[in-house]
Amino acid sequence: MEQVERHTISVLVDNEAGVLARVIGLFSGRGYNIESLTVAEVDKANALSRITVVTVGTPMIIEQIKAQLERLVPVHRVVDLSQDGPHVERELALVKVAGVGDRRVESLRIADIFRARAIDSTNDSFVFEISGSTDKLNAFIRLMEPLGLVDVSRTGVVAIARGSKAL
């Protein structure tokens, strides 16, 4: 069997009705994996949205995914960031931790190390905002578990190529 690889793919699409359903339907219909998917409009004047999708598959499957995405009529560009050179990836999470006493202090201390910010606090809870790589977020959340983790909301990965060139 060929080795399975993780790829981050940026897709520039027309921001029109049904475009997200098309992309998601393509992945589910053809049995491709979605590890995360984010979407938002990035160019209002031209009504363009950018989808960042993280997927895993053999090189042959990854090539298929890109070709299948390119085939969709509202798709402008498909760029495989993982293949095309250096890029940066970020994810944001809101992490709610409930607790009092030592556990509460400990959660604040760890948040500080991870450069997470408390953006809401009550007497017995914090909501931390943290951004960074997926691995960093995973590590932070794991450390919060014994300290009263009650809720997590994550954005999924957004990514962009390094250097001056645009998508």
Binding site: G18, G25, G29, Q64, A67, Q68, R71, V73, H76
Partner: protein
């Protein structure tokens, strides 16, 4: 152009006219009544009333495949739209350009479970090349023209435009400009990379055991592609095989043609595929009916693949030289490059390859045991071919054994003469497709080679043929079984014929008459010629019930999960070689 505001319905029809559409296939209903009213008031577009919306799509497919034009369908919302899903999927799989207009409930009711509301764009998203829901009258003109552009450009396919009733009744001007506007992003690439062309011709010239393997993409590209293909194949002197969808892309009577490839292809084609050292694929998609077991597919070949859709390349089979582009453009470039480089084939090696191929050919793999008392299905199709081969003839089929025998025994000399459901294998395709072909070619002889089970799936369209005076001929190879299913049950399930006998069949002669057509029947070999002659002579829809051997199976056959060199040539092989367990789970 027109300063006067028009209704949405009028805009839709005007766009059809500007696209050169002169016929549409459809069925009315509440949501599309405004378009039907607008149709009533004009004479440019002819409407063919069908009997079930599914029939309309296959008619449009037959029309499109036999002309190279876009086929057009008009149906109502809800059940009208859901009835066309099979046809859309069929056209999507076989790359047939269609534009389907569906009615929709008014925009303010969308999402309310209104009467005859269905999420048509949602349901059809995976089975169309693209679809639109028009929510603003200002978008209608552009969307109509874009739909045609998308349907016919690049890899063709079905496009659906969902039209809410209020949009059909709203007023707006028609600019006449939208037809000229270039699509802002969808611009399929037509010319392949010149370096790759260079590498391809070198590979072709240096081949010792080459094979051309060509398919539906050559037909999609237009008749010129078939002509260029013939030139390239004859320049090189190499053998060529075609897929089911490609039949007609190269003249079947030519010596270099080895017959169809794949599951029910010829021995020589499949062994050439297995043994070749250079495989030149033009417009074929390495379908599983063709490759058999992938791990054993054409193990020693370097491959060149010409396809306009890059997602077809390296999907199933890795290739050395991908040529993404239109078949006509790429074939032209290959020929030009071949000439510019003054290349020539390795004559000695090619002669040896032909000696080998001729030995395979000598097996005469399509031979079958004839009979004086019982009509062999192959015999019926051979006789049909002999009767019609010098005529202006178009053949459609249903799905099953008869379809495969038609592919094996009918010889197509030109493209666009053969209409069959390949990718989806839709029983019920053949009769409506034949009607669509007949509309496009009123003077031609159009024959649906059918099975008795398949024909019942869209038999209601006989009524359409009668209404519009379309003298289509239905040539039923009646074995009283879902023959293809019975054959697989024999091969894979110990001959336990679960539900594959087609009991309680109608009397097809009376059925034809009930519709107002002509029914004919052959029960012994001696009847066949007479029935065919009469079928051709009658200027009306005809059902010819050819009662054939109930036990005959279709060979050669590569069972699923097997390789090309593990072909079954006849019933004796079938008994000798049980199917592997991995093969059992495949379709």
């Amino acid at each position: 152009m027109s300063e006067q505001p028009m209704t949405g319905s009028e805009i839709a029809i005007r766009a059809l006219v500007d696209q050169g559409v002169d016929v549409i296939f459809g069925y009315p209903g509440g949501a599309v009544l405004p378009i039907y009213d607008a149709l009533f008031k004009q004479n440019s577009v002819r409407h063919i009333l069908v009997r079930e919306e599914g029939g309309a799509v296959h008619m449009a497919e037959g029309y499109a495949r036999s002309t190279g034009k876009v086929g057009v369908v008009l149906v109502t919302s809800g059940p009208g739209a859901t009835n066309i899903v099979t046809g859309l999927t069929d056209a999507f799989m076989d790359s047939i350009p269609l534009v389907c207009l569906t009615g929709q409930v008014p925009t303010h009711l969308i999402g309310n479970d209104a009467f005859q509301e269905a999420d048509t764009t949602g349901i059809t998203r995976p089975c169309t090349k693209h679809n639109y829901l028009v929510k603003k009258i200002e978008d209608l003109e552009r969307v109509m023209h874009e739909a045609f552009y998308v349907a016919r450009s690049g890899r063709p396919g079905p496009v659906l435009v969902d039209l809410p009733k209020d949009i059909l009744m709203a007023l707006h001007t028609y600019s006449g400009q939208a037809i000229k506007v270039q699509h802002k992003r969808y611009q399929p690439r037509l010319d392949a990379d010149p370096d790759a062309i260079d590498r391809a011709v070198d590979l072709i010239a240096n081949a010792r055991r080459p094979l051309f393997y060509c398919g539906g993409g050559v037909i999609n590209s237009g008749p010129k592609a078939s002509e260029l293909l013939r030139r390239l194949v004859q320049m090189t002197g190499y053998p060529i095989t075609l897929t089911l969808m490609g039949l007609g892309a190269y003249p079947a009577s030519d010596r270099q043609f080895l017959g169809m490839v794949g599951m029910h292809g010829t021995y020589e084609s499949n062994l050439a595929m297995h043994g070749c050292d250079v495989l030149i694929n033009v417009g074929a998609r390495f379908d599983d009916r063709v490759t058999g077991r992938l791990a054993a597919f054409s193990p020693n070949s370097k491959r060149i693949h010409v396809d306009i859709d890059s997602s077809s390349i390296n999907k199933n089979v890795p290739v050395e030289v991908p040529l993404v582009g239109d078949a006509t453009h790429v074939l032209e470039a290959l020929i030009a490059r071949w000439k510019a480089k003054k290349l020539s084939p390795d004559r000695k090696a090619i002669a040896a390859w032909w000696t080998q191929i001729d030995q395979w050919r000598a097996r005469d793999c399509l031979r079958y045991a004839g009979s004086d008392s019982i009509i062999k299905p192959q015999y019926a199709i051979q006789r049909l071919y002999e009767h019609v081969k010098d005529r202006d003839v178009y053949i459609t089929t249903e799905v099953g054994q008869h379809q495969m025998w038609a592919a094996q025994f009918f010889k197509f000399e030109e493209p666009n003469r053969w209409m069959t459901s390949g990718g989806l294998g839709t029983m019920g395709y053949g009769l409506p497709a034949a009607i669509g072909v007949q509309i496009a070619h009123p003077k031609a002889l159009v024959i649906d080679i059918a099975g008795e089970a398949s024909i019942l799936m869209n038999i209601q369209e006989m009524s359409t043929a009668i209404q519009h005076r379309l003298p289509v001929k239905v040539f039923i190879i009646n074995n009283q079984w879902m023959g293809m299913v019975r054959q697989w049950q024999e091969l894979l399930h110990g001959g336990r014929y679960s539900e594959s006998y087609t009991a309680a069949l109608p009397d097809f002669v009376k059925l034809a008459e009930a519709f107002g057509g002509v029914g004919l029947r052959a029960t012994k070999p001696g009847d066949v010629d007479g029935v065919i002659a009469e079928m051709i002579a009658v200027d009306k829809p005809v059902i010819a019930d050819i009662q054939v051997d109930q036990t005959e199976n279709c060979f050669p056959m590569i069972p699923s999960g097997a390789a090309h060199n593990e072909m079954l040539l006849g019933p004796d092989d079938e008994a000798k070689r049980p199917i592997s367990e991995e093969g059992m789970v495949l379709v």
